[in-house]
Amino acid sequence: MIPVLGLVAGVLLGLALKPDIPLWMQPYLPIAVVAALDAVLGALRALFDGAFSDRVFVISFASNVTIAGLLVFLGDSLGVGSQISTGIVIILTLRIFSNVAAIRRHFFKA
């Protein structure tokens, strides 16, 4: 319950503060959000599998976001930024799908 409230609080905070993302950060933030979403869904899946570990969760959350950002930065420096962003989004989306499928299997056994 508290995490759900936290999500709502984060959204409200974002709406209330109207944060202006610094320009250098704008290409990385959407990728970071997708990476974070993947980490959260992975944690949820681990929770239902009974394999959740908060240490793993924190590390995977932070490393997902960092590595995604670093990869995009590397791609931008090499001139293949848009391709690498596309690749990252595709991989993360695949993982999100498989995580959601695993969670779904717990509830519907299908």
């Binding site: 995490p3 936290g6 704008q26 959260v40 848009s82």
Partner: protein, 233 residues
């Protein structure tokens, strides 16, 4: 076994849902806050008008490219219009009148309100069995237009934008209401060689007419006159 798994699932859900200040819940809450905040922030960024400021260099290049070619096109058009304007302004009214006459002549030929003479072809479609449908005549007209015909007449009828074709049950064809019997004579002003080729393509007009037992005679002429005019409206 299954029910045990269900119970386990329910317990885990309860643990997840029940508010408790465990480290686990706090961590999850922190992640959720970050996720919510980040989502809203990037949503706002994606919907603000700073698209160009954050675009990648290759995207900017393509935008710049298209803008450049657009501006070149517009500049060429501007030069052309400036020349026309200068001619119209300096040459008293003579240039303007000449320009207008030229346009009038072109448009009149297209509209079919004046006769047209020039290089072209004369086609005679004979149909001894009287079975050629109006669609073949229509195809002939389309083929001639595609090949660049400027003016076309069938029999004594000028073919214009609203000309229509219909079959007569007892044989023959009605063109814009005028009944015609074969052989049909078609005169067209335009590039004769191109039009002749267009009629002769495999599966084209000549093939269709021959298949129906008829024949097509095509004569390319240096001076063909399309004498029929469409009634002015």
């Amino acid at each position: 076994m299954i029910s045990a798994r269900r119970r386990l699932l329910r317990i885990r859900l309860l643990l997840l849902w029940r508010p408790a200040l465990t480290r686990r819940q706090l961590l999850a809450t922190g992640a959720a806050v970050l996720l919510g905040f980040g989502s809203v922030a990037s949503w706002r960024a994606a919907h603000s008008d700073t698209a160009l400021a954050t675009a990648r260099p290759d995207q900017l290049l393509s935008v710049l490219d298209s803008l450049n070619s657009r501006s070149q096109r517009l500049q060429a058009e501007q030069r052309q219009l400036a020349v026309t304007r200068q001619r119209l302004e300096s040459g008293s009214n003579a240039a303007a009148i000449a320009e207008a006459r030229k346009r009038l002549q072109v448009l009149s030929v297209l509209a079919g309100t004046v006769q047209a003479t020039g290089p072209g072809i004369t086609i005679v479609i004979s149909d001894p069995d009287r079975i050629i449908p109006s669609s073949i005549l229509l195809d002939t007209v389309q083929e001639l237009r595609d090949a660049g015909a400027e003016a076309i007449q069938i029999g004594k009828v000028r073919v214009v934008a609203n000309t229509w074709f219909a079959d007569i049950a007892s044989g023959g064809v009605r063109v814009s209401g005028i009944p015609m019997q074969p052989p049909y004579t078609v005169a067209a002003v335009g590039d004769g060689a191109t039009m002749k080729t267009a009629l002769g393509i495999p599966g084209g007009i000549i093939d269709s007419v021959t298949a129906a037992g008829g024949s097509v005679r095509v004569a390319v002429g240096r001076s063909v006159t399309v004498s029929a005019v469409a009634p002015a409206r």
